[in-house]
Symmetry: C2
Subunit: 154 residues, 2 copies
């Protein structure tokens, strides 16, 4: 019966995505359906998983191009195996750990700034233009110059 692929509507139902979103992902190269004789898109059942991966990665804050990069690790020409998915998920997890660590570093720097009570130190790690905080010595951009704690208005 359904041996000739899923319609876009069926895929939308299975994933919870809007039809328009799936079409958009196609324009972004994240999914590549084929067409039936009438020109309608047809999807592999494995694409359900592919779209689900996209949704999950978005939850983690990755952009569509980044997600496309992850998906390139999947084999072309055959249906990905569970092992393929496990491999891509591990690579994904590494990026994720990186992201969490960066946030934690930023938070710890914030703690330091709460400690000093100023939020305005020129050498405050939070003002480093790189997300890699606390890279002291590497020409920290002088974002804050206001260091008088008790100025008055008017």
């Amino acid at each position: 019966m359904a041996s000739s692929g899923l319609s876009i509507g069926a895929l939308a139902d299975r994933t919870g995505l809007a039809v328009s979103a799936i079409r958009y992902y196609e324009t972004q190269g994240l999914i590549e359906p084929w067409r039936n004789s009438g020109g309608q898109r047809r999807f592999h059942r494995a694409d359900i998983r592919r779209l689900s991966f996209i949704m999950i990665a978005q939850k983690f804050g990755f952009s569509l191009p980044e997600i496309g990069g992850f998906l390139k690790a999947l084999p072309g020409g055959r249906t990905p195996t569970p092992q393929d998915w496990a491999r891509i998920s591990e690579g994904f997890r590494a990026h994720l750990d990186q992201r969490i660590e960066t946030l934690q570093q930023l938070r710890d720097n914030l703690d330091g700034c709460i400690g000093c009570g100023c939020l305005s130190l020129p050498n405050c790690a939070l003002y480093n233009p790189q997300d890699q905080a606390a890279k002291k010595g590497k020409g920290p951009r002088f974002l804050m110059g206001d260091h008088s704690e008790t100025e008055n208005r008017s």
Copy 2:
């Protein structure tokens, strides 16, 4: 000399922000300059710190409306003291911890999915529509229905 407030350009120089960005923040209610006799914006020196807080909070991924919410905790009518800033930073930190924890929970759920190798369990915590993952029992949206691991193409 400069006792009547900072011009927008001076503030831009002190913070590293673009002049246009500062004006935009004003339209979003994040900063409220007064006007001089010629109609030009004038800013308090304390606004340097305010803008820096905005920049930091953005690094952490908060939206401008969220940041506006944090800033409402600052006193109106007087220049915020270091203590004021320490207080707001602590509230901010709580949101931040929450955000990190949510990410970690998601990551741990991903680990579970790597473990099961499927990425397609209907009860997988990652498919919960809420960012609060792992809320089993609360009618998890059935996002994935594909559970045959070895289907073939064509």
